[in-house]
């Protein structure tokens, strides 16, 4: 029994099976059986269909159904690429890192299944610039897969062949955004592209491309092996399945926890996380790193699925929960996050490039005791001017920390106003 909601790990199987990063151990525990099933008794369309029926939603943040995305790939344009988003740069998010470092073959198997489903012969894993260490076991696992006939020509002696390439970015948050990622992968500046065209039509090198998050793809082997009905037994009707929650901040037991979607937030924080280190009450929780509005205490009973989180005026995003106890000055926290976005803004569009800089300046002024009450409103007005006007979601995310903290913890700002 892994926890109250899950009998055994489906994704973080490394927690149950020692040394599963070794290919033999992985195979001994049913590894690559899903691939064998797909290659021998299924056709690509059926693989996509199972993933679609399972309603596996993208784990990179947006929650778009993976099977639907795969079915957008036009049937007669070649080549098709699979790109794996391993840029994991959201503050407080560290699930993909554990998957790639500890259970890499499941990631690889997921990639091969995806490539088979969409007719790709090449997959690129785009890793966060700082992931040097994580890439060592992943690279080793890829080599093992090649040596075992699971990658390269005629995989498992079938007609299907494919290659996987690893690429490390240079360390930019924006390169997690899928089109900026594609630009970066092609050797251009990591800045988002206009959509349309969407990657499914014109992605990498202007060819049809599926981009999925590491965790999304790690879900695919168990789904193919056990079927969509099995998968849908977990989670809610509209958010089915299993999800990794990265827990950090003022909790006793930070780490990655695997739960079905729709599990209660309180269970994650209190039962698994062990509550706050200090024992002090929690002041606020960030549900998706810096990108989503903070959850105030009145919503601590929210369920962790896409729909319930939306009802609580926030998003599940990458499901990285950062817990802050009472000691935290929310104006300070917001300033940190504004600094993050200012630093990570790619600079392509004016509202995000200039707006974040301006926000940071005003935050500084307030926090250094030189602000007026007008400045708190000014912050809101600037965020208002950025909202809906930016080129990509980063600029839209950037306003969340400020707006939510002003809304719920305005006194934390007001205490700096002395003028």
């Amino acid at each position: 029994m892994t926890n109250k909601y899950l009998d055994k790990h489906v994704l973080l199987r490394n927690k149950d099976i020692p040394n599963i990063r070794d290919i033999n151990v992985y195979i001994a525990h049913g590894g690559y059986d899903a691939l064998k099933k797909a290659l021998t008794v299924m056709n690509p369309g059926e693989v996509t269909q199972v993933v679609k029926t399972a309603n596996l939603r993208g784990r990179g943040g947006a929650g778009f159904p993976a099977g639907v995305k795969w079915s957008f790939i036009p049937p007669n344009v070649k080549p098709v690429y699979v790109v794996v988003n391993a840029d994991e740069s959201e503050p407080g998010t560290f699930k993909d890192r554990e998957l790639m470092g500890e259970n890499p073959h499941q990631v690889i198997e997921g990639i091969i299944l995806c490539a088979f489903a969409v007719g790709a012969e090449r997959a690129y894993i785009y890793g966060r610039g700082e992931f040097k260490n994580t890439f060592v076991p992943l690279k080793k696992a890829i080599d093992e897969a090649y040596n075992n006939g699971l990658l390269g020509k005629n995989i498992m002696n079938t007609d299907f062949s494919m290659d996987i390439f690893l690429h490390l970015g240079a360390g930019a948050y924006i390169c997690g955004e899928e089109t900026a990622l594609l630009n970066s992968l092609e050797g251009y500046m990591g800045q988002p592209r206009s959509r349309p065209p969407f990657p499914a039509a014109e992605g990498l090198y202007a060819k049809p491309t599926v981009i999925n998050n590491v965790e999304t793809l790690s879900n695919v082997p168990p789904i193919i092996l056990n079927g969509s009905d099995w998968y849908r037994r977990y989670g809610t009707e509209r958010s089915p399945g299993i999800k990794i929650f990265s827990l950090s901040g003022h909790v006793k037991n930070p780490g990655n926890y695997e739960l079905p979607l729709g599990a209660p937030l309180r269970y994650l924080i209190e039962e698994l996380g062990g509550g706050t280190m200090s024992g002090l009450p929690i002041k606020g929780i960030l549900p998706a790193g810096a990108s989503a509005p903070m959850i105030p205490p009145e919503h601590f009973d929210v369920m962790m699925d896409y729909e319930s989180m939306a009802e609580a005026n926030t998003t599940l995003g990458s499901a990285s929960f950062i817990v802050m106890d009472e000691t935290v000055d929310m104006a300070w926290a917001a300033e940190k996050m504004v600094h993050f976005f200012k630093h990570e803004s790619c600079g392509k569009c004016s509202p995000c490039r200039e707006g974040n800089y301006w926000l940071e300046q005003v935050m500084h002024r307030i926090r250094s005791g030189k602000g007026t009450s007008f400045d708190i409103d000014l912050l809101t007005k600037i965020t208002h001017q950025m909202t809906d006007n930016c080129f990509c979601p980063l600029g839209e995310f950037a306003v969340n920390p400020i707006n939510a903290t002003i809304k719920h913890f305005r006194s934390d700002y007001e205490k700096y106003i002395t003028l």
Partner: protein, 886 residues
């Protein structure tokens, strides 16, 4: 034509092709949506966000897929929750756009406020002030006050030189990336980029030398703020007091450096040219200028200008009155009788050239005139007269169904504006076949690259023609209706099948065949040929045949043209400044005169020479003795050139901006330039005026009082030019065309848009008939391992360009460029000197090494100071076999 989509913008219905962006649809009905990053000549990026508008589409019922209608039966429009960028949102059927909703006006204000947070607002000392889109839009839409009270970008560096010509002010830059897109997309010189991200992002040039592009000046026009300015106009940088742009008087003119006749505006202030800006002509230069044109205007105000007539006495020039100089000339010309010759440079206006030939033919009774100073510069008058490019041809707009066959010219150097336009065509999908003996810049975009051995271009053309006839790809209708001699040609070409020419050309037979098919099958086809293809009648006949059998003649977007060397080479030939043709290409009735080549031989037998606007000695130093041995030489020019120094009388002429006139470009487009500076040098006369005065002294009764009047006579006398009255040539374009080529935001491009007039070739007459001519190529391939190739380059050793200090570092110095392996074989390294010896002469040159050059070529531009290459050439071709020794 793609399908039309109908939408409503601010309640007005408009239909546009599918795929059009909202902003262009809005422009069609005269709604201007503000923009910074959008530019109609560049790809859209949608980054500044100032163009946000409210957009809605008809709602559809999910179940029935029918539009949802309101009670009145009108479709219910669902507006998107977010505003959409008009520049990068394509239209769709039934869409409704509100360009000035309350929300978008607020958004616009917001964006402007954001942009101004990083802008220094130093308008009082900004060269863009007065024609700055940021200034204008802030005036129209801004808040009028800023809530941003911090240090602005004031810490960012200002005045960063990007090369010699352009200065970057990073404080003012709004990161719209127009400059980068221009360089990447239009110029093809990838020399700019954004470095860093977020607020630290800035434009950088990472090439050495910085911002290394012949077209960089254009970025200063399209930069929507004062971040990129030209060193030439930066008012605080100059030694003289600055001038604000609203103080300038703008005068339409034409480039004297450009064989396309780029349209420009001279910005003048108290009798001086302060800047040169492009003037829109979508058929010629669109809205671009080369740096040579933009920055090369300084000769006008040079202190070296000739200011008075000079008469040589005892080997020394003495200032003289016009009266004395003209009488002396009249006497001497009279004495010389038929032993007189004249050379007039192809930079003169049509009016000057026409009167020059009239003076010789009607007053001096001589056909000894020419404008071709050195080589027969790849100009074949018959091809131009008979075929040319079709009227209305718009090379920059050629697209998928078209092909350009470029043969033997490095357009980037020899026809820089045409280079930009050919690139534009290729971007639109036109098929480019680039054939040359070496790498040239268009190879980077060419669909087919053919690398022939120098001297074999004619065989390549014959091989292509043979393929077309063999495979039945000729334009049968055209062949049937308008050609004669097809069978004879077929027979002749049996000796020139791709297999048979593969060896001599060095090009695989299949590749020749494929190129032939691509050219023949294209709906529109244009052949552009330059001097590196060769220079003989067999070549010109083969090009003529290829154009004729493919039917690529006599219609818009089809035809043939030589890459002519100068701004008015075409006009000089049109108006009879050649020994064998009268104006309009009529053969001379009497004896053919001497060509320049003959006149410049040592024993030419001439007693007098009249040389106008041609620095013969500067271009071909070996011609010196021919001039020295002439009894009486008159040179008419702007400067004391090497040639003028040898003259007996020197006459000071007006420069282009000081007078008016017309030029004919290589597409036969005649265009007028206006006078800008009113008589700053009253002692200089316009060339046509001087020629008229000489004719008068010789007893002619000419009454010309203006260039306009001379052209009036030309329209009456030369039927090719019958539509070329100044009144016609200066007609502004129609409103409809203006709308078609609308350019956004605050620049002076709009000043007086004229498109000029092209004269009709014989092919344009749909009843005209052509006989195919086959001329057996002589085998005059250079017999040598190494071939000297001496093309023209843009930054040459010319007298005019050398007056522009700002371009001084760009002027090329004579050198011999070799491939690395040749350098290695001869153990040469940078800085070494080699001795080049041809059958004609021998010169020593410092070397340069270029990895793109083939091993059998040594490159030495011919139009550089000292005319070194000319000393090795045989006066026939611009390539010749040489020996190299260390």
């Amino acid at each position: 034509m793609s399908d039309l989509v109908t939408l409503k913008i601010d309640g007005i219905e408009v239909s546009v092709p599918a795929g059009t962006m909202i902003i262009e649809a809005a422009n069609k009905i005269g709604r201007e949506i503000p923009v910074f990053c959008y530019h109609s000549k560049l790809s859209t990026v949608g980054v500044c966000r100032v163009c946000l508008v409210k957009v809605g589409t008809p709602g559809f019922d999910r179940a029935t897929r029918q539009p949802i209608l309101d009670v009145a039966g009108n479709p219910v429009i669902r507006f998107f929750p977010k505003p959409m960028p008009a520049c990068s949102t394509p239209v769709s059927a039934g869409m409704e756009v509100i360009t000035e909703s309350k929300e978008s006006l607020a958004d616009r204000q917001a964006i402007l406020e954001f942009l101004l947070t990083s802008h220094p607002l130093d308008c009082p000392v900004c060269d863009k002030g007065g024609e700055c889109p940021l200034q204008d839009l802030t005036y129209a839409h801004g808040r009028g006050e800023s809530r941003f009270e911090y240090q602005r970008k004031h810490t960012s560096p200002k005045k960063i030189p990007l090369g010699d010509l352009i200065v970057l002010d990073t404080e003012r830059c709004i990161i719209c990336t127009r400059c980068i897109r221009f360089q990447d997309e239009i110029a093809g010189d990838h020399v700019l980029a954004i470095e860093n991200r977020g607020r630290d992002a800035k434009v950088v040039s990472y090439t050495e030398p910085k911002f290394d592009s012949k077209y960089s000046g254009n970025t200063t026009d399209i930069c929507p703020v004062g971040a990129l300015t030209s060193r030439d106009f930066r008012f605080k940088d100059m030694n003289k007091p600055g001038v604000r742009i609203w103080e300038l008087t703008n005068v339409p003119s034409i480039s004297n450096y450009c064989n396309m006749g780029s349209n420009l505006v001279l910005g003048t202030h108290v009798g001086e040219i302060r800047r040169v800006m492009p003037r829109q002509n979508e058929l010629v230069n669109e809205i671009w200028l080369t740096n040579k044109t933009r920055f090369g205007h300084h000769f006008h105000s040079s202190s070296h200008r000739l200011t008075a007539p000079l008469i040589k006495e005892n080997g020394k020039f003495k200032q003289a009155t016009w009266e004395d100089a003209l009488s002396l000339i009249a006497t001497k010309f009279h004495e010389a009788g038929e032993h007189i010759g004249g050379i007039a440079g192809p930079h003169l206006s049509n009016e000057d050239l026409y009167l020059f030939q009239k003076l010789f033919r009607e007053v001096l009774n001589s056909n000894n005139i020419d404008h071709r100073i050195c080589l027969n510069s790849a100009i074949d008058d018959d091809l131009a007269y008979e075929i040319g490019v079709g009227i209305g041809t718009d090379i920059g707009q050629l697209a998928e169904n078209s092909a350009i066959f470029l043969l033997g010219s490095d357009l980037d150097e020899e026809a820089s504006m045409l280079y930009l336009r050919v690139r534009g065509a290729v971007r639109r999908g036109c098929h480019l076949i680039n054939a040359n003996g070496r790498y040239t810049k268009l190879d980077t975009v060419a669909n087919t690259k053919l690398r022939y051995n120098y001297g074999s271009a004619v065989h390549l053309v014959l091989g292509m023609t043979a393929t077309i006839l063999d495979e039945g790809l000729e334009d049968k209708n055209f062949v049937y209706a308008r050609l004669e001699g097809i069978d004879k040609l077929k027979t002749k070409l049996q000796a020139y099948t791709p297999e048979k020419v593969a060896d001599i050309t060095g090009i695989d037979a299949d590749i020749i065949r494929q190129a032939a098919r691509d050219f023949a099958k294209a709906e529109n086809g244009i052949i552009l040929y330059g001097a590196e293809a060769g220079n003989d009648t067999a070549l010109h006949a083969s090009i003529r045949n290829l154009a004729l059998i493919t039917g690529h003649v006599g219609k818009k977007d089809n035809g043939v043209t030589a890459i002519l060397p100068h701004c008015n080479s075409r006009g000089a030939a049109d108006l009879g400044v050649i020994p064998h043709r009268l104006p309009g290409y009529h053969p001379v009735a009497d004896e053919i005169g001497m060509s320049a080549k003959e006149m410049l031989q040592p024993n030419h037998g001439l007693q007098a020479m009249y040389i106008v606007a041609a620095d013969i000695v500067g271009e071909v130093v070996t011609c010196k003795s021919a001039i020295e041995t002439t009894d009486f030489v008159v040179v008419q020019d702007l400067f004391m050139t090497e040639t003028a120094k040898l003259a007996d009388v020197v006459l000071p002429a007006k420069a282009i901006a000081e007078r008016d006139g017309s030029y004919t470009n290589l597409e036969r487009r005649v265009q007028v330039y206006d006078p800008a500076i009113l008589s700053p040098t009253p002692t200089c006369w316009a060339d046509w005026h001087i020629i008229t005065a000489i004719a008068g002294r010789l007893g002619a009764e000419w009454t010309h009082a203006s260039a306009d009047g001379v052209m009036q006579e030309i329209t009456e006398q030369v039927s090719l030019y019958k539509h070329m009255s100044f009144e016609n040539l200066t007609k502004p374009i129609s409103l409809e065309r203006k709308r078609q080529h609308y350019i956004y935001s605050g620049m002076s491009f709009t000043a007086d848009v004229r498109e000029g007039v092209q004269w009709a070739t014989r092919a344009e007459n749909q009843a005209s008939f052509f006989e195919l001519k086959f001329i057996e190529p002589e085998n005059d391939m250079p017999q040598s391992d190494i071939i000297l190739v001496a093309p023209r380059v843009a930054y040459d050793g010319g007298m005019l360009i050398s007056q522009a200090e700002i371009l001084a570092n760009l002027i090329q110095q004579p050198k011999a460029t070799l491939s690395p392996s040749v350098a290695q074989r001869l153990s040469l390294s940078k800085g070494d000197t080699v001795q080049l010896t041809s059958s004609v002469g021998s010169v020593a040159l410092p070397i340069a090494i270029d990895g793109k050059l083939p091993d059998n070529v040594v490159l030495t531009p011919r139009n550089l100071a000292g005319s070194v290459a000319e000393q090795l050439l045989d006066g026939h071709n611009i390539f010749i076999g040489v020996k190299i020794v260390h």
